[in-house]
């Protein structure tokens, strides 16, 4: 078994593009986890499954025809992770590597099913959606076109964090289009960086940002509807 190679100062990316590495710290936690997996530590594997299992399933669902197919892809992915773990060199983070394995398998499977849904198509959907309803702003004939007509009001800080508000957020996320839902989940729920999401889903940085912005804007709108229904109405 080979020792985990030290990441070079400017790691090579797995992908075809060579975006600069973000402020990724040397993946010490990854290193430990990888060593545990190599040593056959089941608890370490269970921890990974609990952390990313549901998100992997969500991403797989974007490409394949049904839940059963997605579950198969996820299982193949985990097997791929185990079979490849000895060769994992830490050039990307462990989670990015896992999601890339999934994305590739899910795409292949989707193509076999005749579901060629390029991510760019999923990503492009909703490009022209407004972040805030146009009728919240003054119209083009007003003295100040595009200024707030029904401005947002400050929320009490803790209000957005109580359990009811969190349920509103959860619901809003579930109702998002697939690509937006998975991007906000990876970024804002699971804490992936922008670069990690772009790499994991094999989308451009710009696509990632558009999807994230659409998702966040809709979640904010749902939260406003709950916290300040008069103004959001």
């Amino acid at each position: 078994m080979s020792a985990l190679a030290l990441a070079p100062p400017f790691p090579l990316r797995l992908g075809e593009d060579a975006r600069a590495m973000p402020g990724d710290p040397p993946a010490t936690a990854d290193h430990e986890l990888v060593e545990k997996l190599r040593a056959g530590d089941e608890a370490a594997f269970a921890e990974l499954v609990d952390m990313y299992g549901a998100a992997l399933l969500g991403v797989a669902r974007m490409y394949v025809k049904d839940k059963a197919a997605a579950e198969e892809v996820v299982q193949e992915t985990w097997l791929g992770v185990l079979q490849g773990i000895d060769r994992f060199e830490g050039r990307s983070s462990l989670k990015t590597w896992i999601f890339r394995i999934l994305t590739n398998r899910a795409k292949t499977r989707g193509e076999r099913e005749g579901r060629t849904v390029p991510f760019s198509a999923l990503a492009g959907a909703g490009d022209d959606e407004a972040s805030v309803d146009a009728d919240r702003f003054l119209g083009p004939d007003s003295a100040q076109p595009g200024a707030w007509a029904a401005p947002p009001r400050a929320w009490p800080h803790d209000a957005a964090l109580n359990s009811e508000a969190l349920a509103v957020i959860q619901m809003a996320i579930e109702m998002l289009p697939d690509a937006q839902r998975e991007v906000i989940r990876l970024r804002d729920v699971l804490g992936f960086s922008a670069e990690e999401v772009a790499e994991a889903l094999e989308i451009s940085d710009g696509n990632q940002r558009v999807l994230l912005h659409r998702a966040r804007s809709k979640v904010r709108a749902a939260l406003e509807k709950y916290l300040d229904p008069e103004v959001a109405a």
Partner: protein, 87 residues
């Protein structure tokens, strides 16, 4: 005669709300970043909006990720044991 410096066109509130993620990601051009910050500095409504946007991100971050179906989890753990035993 001096050529006047080009002052960037101010952002409308309706434009600003489309740029919040790009602003927070640090991916606006320096010109757009200045326009964004100049607007925020003068507009309490957009300040409130950006704050709501930040709170939304913070609250989303406090969600716990759902877990997978226990049967599927057990199956994966047995895949792990088989893999480990075969090494």
């Amino acid at each position: 005669m001096r050529i006047p410096l080009l002052t960037p066109k101010p952002l409308a509130c309706q434009e600003l709300v489309e740029l919040c993620t790009a602003y927070l990601e640090g991916s606006l051009s320096s010109r757009d970043r200045r326009r964004f910050e100049a607007h925020i500095g003068a507009c309490p409504h957009c300040t409130a909006y950006l704050e709501q946007f930040r709170l939304t991100i913070e609250a989303t971050g406090s969600l716990t990720e759902e877990t997978i179906d226990p049967a599927a989890r057990d199956e994966l753990l047995s895949v792990f044991r088989d893999w480990n035993a075969a090494r």
